[in-house]
Structure formats: structure tokens, C-alpha cells
């Protein structure tokens, strides 16, 4: 793996250079306390340092699997036509390892039996530049094994103080670096030591930790636990956790008709298994009738079924679901409680 060093004083110049590879999107302020990946117009607005950007409101899945996506247009004269318009190449700058890991998970989901062309044609158009981070009280990526990624990025910037060590992951990443070679220098032994010191220290920075060993089996044994009813009483079924989850991928497809009553568009839209209609079938019958059934289903799909299908849980430990839950459900607390720590509260109570 090629590794070079980028001084922090050269970062903005590098961002400008990246614009020749596509429209650069990076975390910037959204609202009063949050951040979001947005097009970069002014480099000074970038949130780069670990202090002011832990997680964006939505993960980067929004670029590949859009919240609302028009799939095709139809009309009596023309039949139907693909609604996809070739998008300008993009460069996502400053993606954390949990979100990169989530994209690798989505790759496997969308490359399943029926390959999702809508997802993959955007995937090809968008470069990913990762960046190291410092965990806050909601992060538990270390517990989920997603705190470091070995692939899934074109470049990955690791903070070593005054500079970043830049790992080159793809030939596109190599082009990005080699066409701006005067911005980079070779790293030395001291940089290697600092890099190793930081990665060794990293696991000690987590406040939130969870051990998911044996969880799939325990979830099976606790299928009829009263905890699900408790959670059903608490959960709004609002779907926020699904929307902000970097690996929730469900969508609903509907046709919208124009007022000529003939032409229209077919759209797909992020869906959630917490919604009542998600498992509703003809005649109004519902496979998951109660709020508690739906809460349990989402939890089991993340932490049990995914394990069977893909060999790992789909949770990457980004902390978004717990941070954003309006019912104050603490999902790590849930895991601990179900694993036997009955004193463990699953209410957040620590939100600001």
C-alpha cells in the first residue's frame, strides 16, 4: 500500500485539487449543532478536525441510495424510459471508517441475487476519501470492528498531529495524489511511531462499549421476552433510526400519476420495517401487526439475521440511532439488557 504524508497546511489546496476529479462534498455545519455532507463552496466551512465533526445527520448512503429516487417515467406514447440522468462525478471528502464500512455492507446487499443498477451506477461515479476521527459518547465502532477499514476508500487520511498520513486505496486515489505530488512528502520513522501510538490508544477512547458475542443465539432464546413489549410501548415507530442508519436499505416503490391520468413516474423512497404498512399484504393482513413486533423485527434483522446471511451484524456502531431517537431508546443498552445485564437502562437520558 502506498502511503504519503500531507501537511495540514496543504489540506485546502488538496481539496481544491480534488475538484478536478469531481464535485467535492464534505461535512459542513447543518442546523445549529449538526453536520451534513454538502457540496464544498468555501473551504473554510469544512469540518475537518475531530472536535467539530463526529457524525453527519445522514450517512453517505444518501449519495448511492437516494432518499427519494425517480426510477422511470411512463406515458402512453413513449412507453417507459429510464429516468436516470448521468451525474457529475463526486468526491466525498472526510468519510469516517464506520460509514465506509457501512458502504461495503450495502455493496453486498445490493449485489445480491438481483443486482441493483440504480445503486451501482452511482457507486462508480463517486470517490470516497476517508478520515480518522475521535469517538464521542455515542460511538461504539470499536466494539463492532469497524473502527479501521482496510478497503472501501480511494484515499484515507489519518491524523498524526501536524499532518495526515494518506493511505492510497485505489488507482483513482493514486491519480489524485500523484497529480499533486508537490503537496505530499514522504513520512519518516517518527510519523510511523505516532501513527502506531494513535491506533493503539484509540480503543481506550471509547466510553460506549458492547460485546455482541453470542447475541444471535440469545436473541433466538429471548424471542418471547417481555422486553419487546416494553420497547413496543416506548417506540414511536417513527423510522428515524432507519433513515439515519448507514446500513438500513429498505425502500418502497410507488407510481405517481400526472393529472392527465395517463403519464407518471415510478419512484422509490426510503422505507422502514417499523412502518405499519411495511409487512402489510392484500386484504390488510399484517405479518408484524404490533409496534413491538416491528421493533423486534428491526433489531433482529440487524443483529441476528444479518449475521446468518453475511457473517456479521449490519450495525457499524456509528451511534446515530441512539443519538436521534425521540423516544430516547439507547440501542447499546438494549443489547446489554438482552444479554443479561438486567440493571442496564435502555433509555438514553444523556441527550443534550
Amino acid at each position: 500500500m502506498k502511503i504519503v504524508k500531507l501537511s495540514k497546511t496543504n489540506v485546502f489546496q488538496f481539496v481544491d485539487h480534488l475538484k478536478s476529479f469531481g464535485e467535492v462534498h464534505a461535512p459542513q455545519r447543518k442546523g445549529k449543532k449538526s453536520s451534513a455532507f454538502q457540496p464544498v463552496k468555501d473551504n473554510s466551512k469544512l469540518l475537518l478536525s475531530d472536535e467539530n465533526y463526529t457524525r453527519t445527520i445522514l450517512p453517505i448512503k444518501k449519495y448511492f441510495h437516494k432518499p427519494i429516487d425517480t426510477l422511470l417515467k411512463f406515458s402512453p406514447g413513449k412507453g417507459f424510459e429510464d429516468a436516470y440522468e448521468e451525474e457529475e462525478a463526486k468526491v466525498l471528502f472526510g468519510v469516517h471508517s464506520c460509514d465506509i464500512s457501512a458502504i461495503l455492507t450495502l455493496d453486498r446487499v445490493f449485489a445480491g441475487k438481483y443486482v441493483d443498477t440504480y445503486y451501482f451506477r452511482r457507486r462508480k461515479q463517486i470517490a470516497i476519501i476517508g478520515m480518522s476521527c475521535i469517538p464521542d459518547e455515542y460511538c461504539y465502532c470499536h466494539s463492532m470492528g469497524t473502527d479501521f477499514v482496510e478497503d472501501g476508500f480511494d484515499l484515507f487520511l489519518s491524523d498524526i498531529g501536524e499532518s495526515y498520513l494518506v493511505k492510497v486505496g485505489t488507482s483513482l486515489g493514486d491519480d489524485m495524489v500523484s497529480t499533486a505530488s508537490d503537496l505530499f512528502i514522504d513520512y519518516d520513522e517518527k510519523d510511523t511511531d505516532e501513527y502506531k501510538r494513535r491506533i493503539n490508544e484509540f480503543p481506550t477512547l471509547f466510553v460506549t462499549k458492547v460485546d455482541e458475542t453470542n447475541l444471535p443465539a440469545i436473541l433466538d432464546m429471548e424471542y418471547k421476552s417481555e422486553i419487546w413489549e416494553e420497547m413496543g410501548d416506548r417506540c414511536f415507530n417513527c423510522g428515524i433510526c432507519s433513515m439515519v442508519c448507514p446500513t438500513c436499505f429498505c425502500f418502497d416503490v410507488n407510481d405517481e400519476l400526472c393529472i392527465d391520468g395517463e403519464s407518471g413516474e415510478r419512484k422509490r423512497c426510503w422505507d422502514s420495517c417499523l412502518f405499519k404498512s411495511h409487512a402489510m399484504v392484500a386484504g390488510g393482513h399484517n405479518f408484524r401487526e404490533k409496534r413491538s413486533d416491528r421493533f423486534k423485527h428491526r433489531f433482529l434483522h440487524k443483529h441476528q439475521e444479518f449475521m446468518g446471511e453475511f457473517g456479521r451484524t449490519s450495525c457499524v456502531g456509528c451511534g446515530r440511532c441512539t443519538q436521534d431517537c425521540p423516544a430516547d431508546i439507547h440501542f447499546v443498552g438494549m443489547v446489554k439488557r438482552i444479554k443479561g445485564d438486567i440493571a442496564c437502562v435502555y433509555e438514553g437520558n444523556n441527550k443534550k
Partner: protein, 251 residues
């Protein structure tokens, strides 16, 4: 095939829903091309009372005479659609629908109370069969146009049946409730407005009415944590959808 005959009617209300239809400026010609607008009080003066394919009715029923007007519209219409919070849930006019009408009239009009012909403000479905309802105060014109498209195509309309929160997060809004402790009805209010109020840093007022299976007890719990008392919360829920079944059992 002749164009479907459409009527747009108003009972007691601010007529904001009719205005929203009139506000479909870019689409008005298309609408006029697709349907025959027989009756539209706000937009035209000659409104004959003929048989209709689709009747859109806004407003709350607050007088006996309106019950008769509504029944007559139902009688001559194949499809009747309630539009807006008033027609669907009684709306603002029904905010105190549980208070004894006679006593209320006496408080407001004193000795003349008996002259006021008002009855308990009620949504349309209390008197006639309603085939479909468009939510909101006022309705969203995008939903009106979508509904018209579905109807003209002969399809059952498909609208969101999940809370505003989902729509709000799809827009990547910062949560006013979680991040800023602003009272918000988003978790129990049905989506369809594109999270209009939270997108402008206001809590959702619930004008679209409750989502199916709304977790009202939890909304009480969360709002109490934000500093409201039960009475304030109850009143917040009763502004737009006072007659909703789910709001009858509270706390």
C-alpha cells in the same frame, strides 16, 4: 370520454384549502384540461348544482343547515373527498367540541344564545360517507395534484402512512425535538407535508392529524420531559385533530 365533473365546496372554515387549490398556478390549466370544474365558489360565480363525479369538501359542520348542504352534495356525487383538518377532524373550530354547546353559547352570546344556530362542530364523516381524506391545515397542493392524478387514472391513492419524522430525516433536518427540546408532534403525526414546520426550525403542530397507531402515551411522556404539563400537551394535540379517536385516551 367526457371529462369528470368536479365540485369544490366549503363549509365553516377559513377557506384556506380552496385557496391552496387556486394556488396551483402552474397546473391550473392542466387541471381545467383534465376535469370539468362545475362548482368552485372561490374561483367562479356560476356554480350549478348538478351531478358530480368528484366533490371536494373543506370545512367543519357547525350548523344544522350545513348538515343539509353536505348531505345534498353527497347525494349528487359519486366520490366525496374531505379536504383539510376541518373536514377530516373538525379542525380548529372543534377544538372545544367536548364542551357543552348550550353553556358555551351562553358564555359567548349571553341572552341571545338561543338565536345562534350552531351545533357541536364535527367532521364530515359524522354525517356522510367520506371516500377519502386529504390531510393538513391547509392541504398540500402537491398532495391535491397527486390525488387528482390517482383518481383520474382510476387508482387507489397512495400517501404516506408513517410519521413526519421519517420525512424530516430524509431531508436531513436537524431534529428540533431531540437537539433543541422544542415541542414537536412529528413522532405521532402522519407525514405528507414534507416536514414543512421542522424544516423551518419549528416543532410540528400536528395539522395532518395523528398517524395510524400513534404512540400518544409516549408523546405525553416526552413532552412532559420537555417541560410541558398534561393540560398543555392535551391542548396541543386538540388544535387540529380534536376529534381523533387516538387523542381521546390521553396521558
Amino acid at each position: 370520454m367526457p371529462k369528470p365533473k368536479v365540485g369544490i365546496f366549503s363549509l365553516t372554515c377559513c377557506e384556506g384549502c380552496q385557496l391552496e387549490i387556486l394556488n396551483c398556478e402552474d397546473e391550473l390549466l392542466d387541471i381545467a384540461g383534465a376535469v370539468d370544474i362545475v362548482s368552485f365558489g372561490m374561483a367562479q360565480s356560476n356554480n350549478p348544482e348538478t351531478a358530480l363525479d368528484i366533490a371536494f369538501v373543506e370545512g367543519t359542520v357547525v350548523m344544522e343547515s350545513e348538515v343539509e348542504i353536505l348531505k345534498a352534495i353527497r347525494e349528487r356525487s359519486t366520490t366525496l373527498i374531505a379536504i383539510g383538518a376541518c373536514a377530516t377532524y373538525g379542525g380548529v373550530a372543534a377544538m372545544n367540541y367536548e364542551v357543552n354547546r348550550k353553556e358555551l353559547k351562553e358564555v359567548v352570546y349571553g341572552a341571545d344564545a338561543a338565536l345562534i344556530p350552531s351545533i357541536t362542530p364535527s367532521p364530515l364523516h359524522k354525517f356522510v360517507k367520506v371516500d377519502f381524506s386529504l390531510q393538513g391545515c391547509p392541504i398540500e397542493k402537491s398532495q391535491f395534484l397527486k390525488l387528482l392524478g390517482y383518481l383520474l387514472h382510476g387508482d387507489s391513492p397512495i400517501f404516506p402512512d408513517y410519521p413526519v419524522c421519517a420525512e424530516c430525516k430524509r431531508k436531513e433536518n436537524e431534529c428540533v425535538l431531540v437537539q433543541h427540546n422544542i415541542p414537536c408532534m412529528g413522532p405521532i403525526t402522519v407525514a405528507g407535508c414534507d416536514a414543512r414546520c421542522p424544516s423551518h426550525f419549528n416543532g410540528c403542530d400536528g395539522c395532518f392529524g395523528p398517524v395510524d397507531e400513534a404512540n400518544v402515551a409516549m408523546e405525553y411522556h416526552v413532552m412532559r420531559e420537555k417541560g410541558m404539563d398534561n393540560d398543555e400537551i392535551r391542548r396541543m394535540m386538540h388544535v387540529f385533530a380534536p376529534t381523533a379517536e387516538v387523542f381521546k385516551k390521553d396521558e
